[in-house]
Amino acid sequence: MIKTFKLTKKFGELTAVDALDLEIKEGEIFALLGPNGAGKTTTISMLCGLLEPTNGTATVNEFDVKKQALEVRQSIGIVFQSPSIDDLLTARENLELHGILYGMNKADRTKRIPEVLEIVGLLDRADGQIKTYSGGMRKRAEIARGLMHMPKVLFLDEPTTGLDPQTRTHIWSYIRDLSKKNHITVLLTTHYMEEAEYLADRIGIIDHGKLIALGTPYDLKQSLGANDIIVAKSDKDIAKLTKGLKFVKGIERDGELVKIKVENAGKNLCQLLVKTGELGEIEVRKPTLNDVFIHYTGKDIREDSAEGGIFERSMNSNNR
């Protein structure tokens, strides 16, 4: 459904997206996971024709983003990171305008508006001005708008950034439902590991504009080579002490914390402790996507992901 061919975007010296090769299948939910500034939004902007690629190209619904921009746009729905819905207008009016922009006739619009509002659970608030909506409702209204013209592909750029955890879970279930029930291909970007893990059929981890890992959440975690992680407090040289233990797959140190990747902790923990001696505040857990991220990039995704850019923060008070 979406294919990119060495897709590249440079802003002056900075390469925001670096020769990205990606293939997203019809009907799947694909997450681009990476810290802010990794090139996720730039990728989406190129795929929907808002930015011209510096090099390479991409196809969406078999249309070339460079040569068939209008056809591409007709095939996609998009929900932007920051609000783009008119809050002086009602949800119905916003949808009506969207339908007109996408060339839908009156009969189709009238039929489609309640359908999409139903999908996102806003039918009873259809005639309320968007400014009376909560953050989560706004996002749902934007999702409804993205679906209005029956796109084949839905782009969601950081769909739950800035929303509270409860609302986030809500939005997730809407996205999941609509993808499965309406067979829409979804490409979402996020810097929340839980989000990618919960929603995505496949995940592409992106950093500095490059795709560094790709696979199902399960595959990605498998690629660590260990199925359990032991975290403990210790200043001992664990690497030296555990030398020769085959089930130890890797050791990372973060200050006084040590992270030991092991196979089958339930079976091997005893043997490990025999070698290392006493460890403080020991915790055994399953690998997360964050472990995967650290594994591939050598850094924690959260270090780079302070909420929102400088611009976003200074602009939020200026909604029209």
Binding site: C48, L50, L51, L70, R73, L97
Partner: protein, 250 residues
Amino acid sequence: MSELMGIYGVWLREVKVFFREKERVISSLITPLLWLAALGTGLGASVDLQGINYKDFVFPGIISMNVLFVSLFFGVYIVWDRKLDFLKEVLVAPVSRTSVFLGKMLGGVTDGAIQTGLLLVVATTLFGFNISPLSALFAFLIAVYLGACLVSIGLIIGANLSSPEGFNLVMTFVMWPMFLFSGSLFPTSNLPGWLDIVVKLNPLFYGVDALREVMVGQGQYPVAVDLLVIGVTTLAAIVIGAWSFKRMQV
């Protein structure tokens, strides 16, 4: 067909939003009324120009000022829309950038037309101007025509500004000079050479001149000449504007 619908969609959005922003309509009506009170009634109490009272002389100028402020503001405002993603919704629609530009432009012209109509009615009533309904109608039509030119210029500036901080610069270096050197406030027939050139290069001058001709019979050029200059400027602005929209990145 779908392009026409795109233009209609963009236009309809502007008009709908406009009608929801009553504060904006009212506040933009207050400014010209204050100018009329201070310059028209205040200065007019002791000044006559070219055989007519200054109040009657300045009224066409204040109408032009209002068209200028409303139109440029509307156009340049897209620099905010761009930063806040509002414009993206329109830019990702399967509609050409030329149509987006035209829809926006017509939206701005409609907003301006409503405000000019209101101003004509309110000011005439409040300040007791003596204008025939026919010249009021002509004045209205000229103001709308002038609006198309000024909104287009505003949109060009807005599309080329890279940050909203530039917005204030535009107000300082474009809007105020255009207003002050348009002949809105003074007669243009005896200006010193340099000022005469500045004024004649200003598209707003031709709007003021045409309005002054139909409202008080004091234009420097025939209305047809004024309208021709404005029309040519508008066409050029539409071409440049559509091109600016095409290369605008968000």
